[in-house]
Amino acid sequence: MKKMFALALGILTAIGGFVDIGDLVTNAVVGSRFGLSLAWVVVLGVVGICVFAEMSGRVAAVSGRATFSLVRQRLGPRLGFVNLCGSVAVTALTYIAEIGGVALALELASSINAYLWIPVVGLLVWIVLWRVKFDIMENVFGLAGLALVVFGVSLWALKPDFASLATQALHPSVPATEGTPTYLYYAVALFGAAMTPYEVFFFSSGGIEEKWTAKDIPVMRSNVFVGFPLGGLISLAIAATSMLVLGSSGIDVESLGQVALPVVVALGKVGLIFALVGFFAATFGAACETGLSVGYSISQYFGWQWGKFVAPRRAARFHVVMLIATIMAVGVLLTTADPIKVTEYSVVFSAVALPLTYLPILVVANDTRYMGAHVNGRLANVLGSFYLVVILIASLAAIPLMVLTKAGQ
């Protein structure tokens, strides 16, 4: 019974924790402009994150070591450092976007300007990172993030023609009002949002925090292979409701408030409460995960004591890194940077940095010295290699497409 509860809790938190500010904004933007013609990218991204999250989770469970300590050992200090710089830069950008997202969610609920919330949010995130236990943090925000299921309920309440939605999703084409480069730009952005690098750092380091062993691999796999795809369905529901309510009215999404409008139209105030709780939980949970991921990556690379499983004073440098990252994120946002723009850029730069994260994981998961009998099988390698090619294409195409389309305009 206890095992079943742990399994269900893991799956539910994986669903609730799947969506972050990048998914919220990008799916709503794409839904309003392209309908469900980019749904295939969400599916592609969700399968990709499942493949690599399972791999990194298995590496953590079997070797007892997280991604970056192995990256340095396997790639060497110089190449590992390049990898560290790229990954940390993108994760820090995502951290800024998530803190901005929390502030926007609070602004939407309170009508108090988001810039006044930013220092408060930074302080709250830091307190959680410093004081709250890992499993409590993960479970509370993961479960509260399930409130975003309201987008699925809204889709049902809007009574769309599901056959037509399925046709649009299964027969993708570039809408007449959009150009092919713009379509491809958003495909890359959506892919970057689904496969954000921090998710893998957090997942593998979380495995160490929770003291996974090889016995935990089945539970870890069920979390990944059931929880993540169900989380992906929330992303699709956001895109579909955005298409039905905003796209049909000619509205281009530029703010978090617009993302909530389809829920308001479908379910009124009750729906809005769920959406606001979901926005807050998803962005706050992701802010904690990205903040931790910055600390994990740097500490693991340099071989410092890290983790929330030890007292903060025993992992002082790890906590200082997170504190500096939090102060930096708040500082950047207080320059009046638009959190939505930061989010849009963060998902594109995530796509650029994807090979830095996923290539080392594939290399380590194939190394029998670390993995023993749990080394990658043929299916994992075929999928991993296929995704590396896709990741490389997305990474190379991201910046040229951004320049060509003026960031999707």
């Binding site: 602004e107 939407l108 609920a109 309170s110 009508s111 309510v245 009215s249 000619g250 509205i251 281009d252 530029e254 703010s255 408030g257 617009q258 909530a260 409008l261 308001v264 139209v265 009124g268 105030k269 809005l272 606001l276």
Partner: protein, 155 residues
Amino acid sequence: MRWTAPGVGAIALALLLCSCAAPRDDPEAYLGDSLSTVETVASYVATAQLTASAVRDGRVFVPSANVVLSETMQSLSDTVSTYGLVEPPDERSPMRAQVLDVSRRAEDSVFSTLTAVRRGDTAALDASIDRLTAVDADLSSLATRLEDPSGRRGE
């Protein structure tokens, strides 16, 4: 050919300068700007309409509606200001005046909607929804004219 650091720097500088804003002396590009502005303004007007209708029907909390409308108002003002700064290639063309006229009416309508929502004035809210609907129709009509200046669409 050898790539030297100063050479790469010069190319980068040239690319940077090319990306800087320049006056619009190309009628096609100006038409594109005008059409894009009208479509963007129409998107903001539609957002305001949807939000105002939700407030009238009691489907949204006023603080949330206030945030959406304030952001819409701000973005709309920015869009109109940006368009107003671009010089048209032909000063005799009525396009600029038409776009600015309907955009400023859109600004006024969104502003009156925001004021009505903040004051909780139901009658004023109904009136502003009507104004938004009228502006939306004008924007749609102007977009059609800009897309097909000869007016041959549908013939």
